[in-house]
Amino acid sequence: MTTKALRNFAISASTVRQRKSMWRRRTNLRLVVGAALLAGTSIMTLGAPFFAPYSLDFYDLDAILMPPGPAHLFGTDEIGRDVLSRVIWGGRPILFIVFFSTVLSLLIGVTLGFMSSANNLANTALSRLADIQLSIPSLVFALLAIAVAGSQMSNLVVVLALAAWPLHFRVVRAHALAVKKLPYFEASRLAGSSLFYRVMRNYLPGVLPLLAVTTSVTATVTALSATGLSYLGLGVSVPDWGRMIAISKGQLSDAAWASGFPALALILFLLGIQLIADALSDRVKGRGGAPHERR
């Protein structure tokens, strides 16, 4: 792009300056709302011992399927358990799985991504591995793993991390390969800087926003998979939102609150992550993507 072209673009872009600032406000709004939703549901769940009026298993057979009222703010389910408490408690398994699985997938993906950019052989081998992992739909992969190894929390964390690492891997790898070709990377090399310095200064600042996007996307997908599994009854043994929805789905016509409130909590949680993911990815794209994608 010539200087002239850039100037022209800047001039024409000034007419969209108004549109852009409005759009940036919209991005920030999404970030804020998303973070609020996520934080809200997380705090509520983590603070279950304090917030929940009843325990998870407490049931009262005299109060079956009661609609929301003063004693039970969200009503009760088929065997008289307080829905509100169960909703508050029910987020824990999901929260834990999503968190640990996402972190694990990051560790695997980033490490392998680095290794792959350093060495040609590693590059081909690991890329193929990532492709193969992506050739099995993640839910199906999880089902296989559960069938073979059971559905303890640790298994689920590992399996879902395995399904998700290729996403981080690809991003880290692509960025590394692109930065290597950039003039400023070579200039750094010519200046005699150490490898550590070069990686920190030239590579890291560009990849962090990208990883932020993939992390939030991974969190969303993992959450969806985890709840899907528990809906199918194959998740952890501790009741969580998916399980609750599944159990009470028969009452939909008469007592929608038993399934409805867990569903609502789930939606808010997922929406929070989704909004953050969208806002971050728009941010990165709006800035023109990674430096190697610009111009």
Binding site: R128, L129, D131, I132, Q133, L134, S135, I136, P137, S138, L139, V140, F141, L143, L144, A145, I146, A147, V148, A149, T220, V221, L224, S225, T227, G228, Y231, L232, L234, G242, I245, A246, K249, L252, S253, A256, S259, A263, L266, I267, L270, L271, I273, Q274, L275, D278, K285
Partner: protein, 346 residues
């Protein structure tokens, strides 16, 4: 295609010399105007097939390792009440006592030739359970895909080109909300409204086309938003491209410009997103089949997991993955058809 790139030096006088009657140089039978050059080269086709073959091998390998990791594979294949002798017989039969590479090769060979271990429940090949289920899954997947693509493209198009602000904003945001909702929640929601409250559509089963409506829509809403977003971004990008400006200088209608130069060009990124989303589509179909009681592969898989019927589990997982890989390869081929440049980089 012969190399077009030639030496550019071309004396000006030659141009003048050729200004005579040109049509004489063109044989009469070739008077037809050559249109688009369509079709993949043989090389591209082979490449696609090769990578799908590798992917299938990869999947089989993963399944193999999953089985081996359990420690005693014979246990998986035997019924729970098997005696020690029966286990030993099984072990020898399937060669579990042989070396790992040997087992691997045998396994791959069996999978490819369709020689699956017998289902524990029915004592027949798992294929007998799975094959009849395939049409139900495929019909669900394709109709969901079709609905999602149509919705996504229309909403994306409207969000860029519609004159009405409402049409530009509302559908896109509505779809975005659905994107964050798990498929079973959407499904239950739709059932609540259309089956239970309104009674228009059945809650499940597989009898009629009507029973396909709700499951397809639940599944489609899962990723229609993504398609709309990607299409929208792509449209924006293409609309400001130089070739669109060039098209404006020609004597064609705005409509033609929009369609031929903007919309079709913008479809390419949508195709690549599609490839990624099909995975979640197939995963989601498992849940959807369960919710709507459709007898597809997903249901077979779930039942098998319940019964710990490992041969069926293995077969189902492999087949679903194979379907996924095939669809992905098809999408890649369509991409190459749509954009001639992708083939160059394939």
């Amino acid at each position: 295609m012969a190399q077009i790139r030639q030496d550019d030096s071309f004396p000006q006088s030659q141009a003048a010399a050729l200004s005579g009657p040109v049509s004489a140089a063109v044989p009469d039978i070739l008077k037809r105007f050559p249109g688009r050059r369509v079709g993949m080269s043989r090389r591209g086709l082979l490449r696609s097939l090769l990578s799908s073959a590798i992917a299938i091998f990869g999947v089989l390998t993963i399944v193999f390792f999953a089985i081996m990791l359990t420690g005693n594979p014979a246990l998986l294949l035997a019924s729970p009440s098997a005696t020690h002798e029966e286990l030993e017989a099984l072990t020898r039969l399937y060669g579990f006592d042989r070396s790992l590479p040997e087992q691997y090769v045998t396994f791959i060979w069996n999978m490819i030739s369709g020689n699956y271990p017998r289902s524990l429940r029915l004592n027949a090949s798992p294929l007998e359970q799975i094959l009849p289920a395939i049409p139900y899954t495929l019909s669900l997947a394709f109709s969901a895909g079709f609905i999602a693509i149509s919705m996504g493209l229309v909403v994306g198009y409207l969000s860029v080109f519609s004159r009405y602000k409402l049409l530009r904003e509302v559908p896109l945001n509505a779809l975005a909300v659905f994107q964050a909702t798990p498929v079973f929640v959407i499904g239950l929601f739709l059932v609540l409204i259309f089956s239970i409250s309104l009674g228009w559509l059945p809650t499940g089963g597989s009898r009629s086309v009507k029973s396909l409506v709700l499951p397809s829509f639940s599944l489609a809403l899962m990723f229609a938003a993504r398609i709309a977003q990607v299409f929208r971004a792509s449209l924006h990008q293409v609309a400001s491209a130089e070739h669109v400006r060039a098209a404006r200088t020609r004597q064609i209608s705005e409509q033609e410009i929009r369609l031929r130069h903007i919309v079709v060009n913008a479809l390419l990124p949508v195709l690549s997103v599609l490839g990624l989303e099909i995975g979640s589509l197939l995963g989601g179909s498992v849940i959807t089949e369960s919710l709507f009681s459709r007898p597809g592969i997903g249901s077979v898989l779930l039942v098998a997991i319940d019964n710990k019927d490992y041969p069926v589990i293995i077969a189902a997982v492999v087949l679903i993955s194979v379907i996924f890989i095939i669809i992905n390869t098809l999408v890649d081929m369509v991409s190459a058809l749509v954009d001639p440049r992708t083939e160059a980089s394939l």
